[in-house]
Amino acid sequence: MVVLEHFYQKVIIPIKIGSFDISITNLTLSMFAGVGIFLILLVIFAARPKKIPGKMQVVVELLINFIRKGICFSMIGPKESDKWVPFVAGVFIFVLANNMIGLVPGTYTPTSNPVVPLTIALIIFLTVHIANLVKNGFKGYLKTYAPPSVPKWMLVIVVPIELISTIAKPFSLFIRLMANMLAGHTILYVILGLIIYFKTYFIAIAAVPFALVMTILEIFVSAVQAYVFAILAALYIGEAVNPRH
């Protein structure tokens, strides 16, 4: 069915190299469109930076200030966070652009396909562990799993919980993002599909306002999920990088 393009990938330009299938699908085009629009707007707004910012430069400064003070300073602390602001800003803007592009009719939400959030979650997982190893050394990395402030008899319970949470934290990041994006579109298609199912237009009197409200909620959920993803990434990095008590 042509209306279900939100849920299925359609190959547009097939490109195969050996046995790797790297065709251009509607996911690729939506991702390029979303991130491209964001990048072009950011470059246009901050094209010639001045010391006293003009009207358009203030918007970019607002965004970067929000990421730096709102996300990084509160989670990583002011001393270490200047190294990590570009990474967290990249994650935040990538997830925000990919969530928002799904609201345009006819596009595909890249973050609703399991591949995209899984890749970002794996990148954050590798970043956290490698940052922990580089900053604290191998013994410090092992001490993460057995914090010194825990009494010795509780270590039997705490160590398995910490080991399970190394798998559970990136997995929950991935599932939270993917399921939120998928659920929003599913509700919209179920509500509007009732009109087709009952084969009468009278259902539209009840269905369309409900779908409108759900779309407004979708806009809100897209922004909040991007913010929660970025703040959790900053939290895990902060746990790895800050000295432990």
Binding site: A179, A183, V228
Partner: protein, 76 residues
């Protein structure tokens, strides 16, 4: 019983029971946030932000149940 029928009943049950916990959690959260704002209206911005983060966490739990329900309907 037909396995497909059992899977569909299980999917409905799963999502229904899985929405109880997050419902209670979000209700508690928003209640405490409102109490905090009523006590000290100047901290409204910070309390608002922390409340939204908490709601996103609680919502994720109910979405785990939704994913299991989808798996039951479409894959089993």
């Amino acid at each position: 019983m037909d396995p497909k029928a059992a899977a569909l009943i299980a999917a409905g049950f799963c999502m229904g029971v899985g929405a109880i916990g997050p419902g209670i959690a979000i209700g508690n959260l928003v209640g405490k946030a409102l109490e905090g704002i009523a006590r000290q209206p100047e901290a409204g911005g910070q309390i608002n932000t922390a409340m939204f983060i908490g709601i996103a966490f609680a919502e994720a739990i109910s979405l785990y149940a939704l994913v299991v329900a989808f798996l039951l309907i479409f894959v089993a």
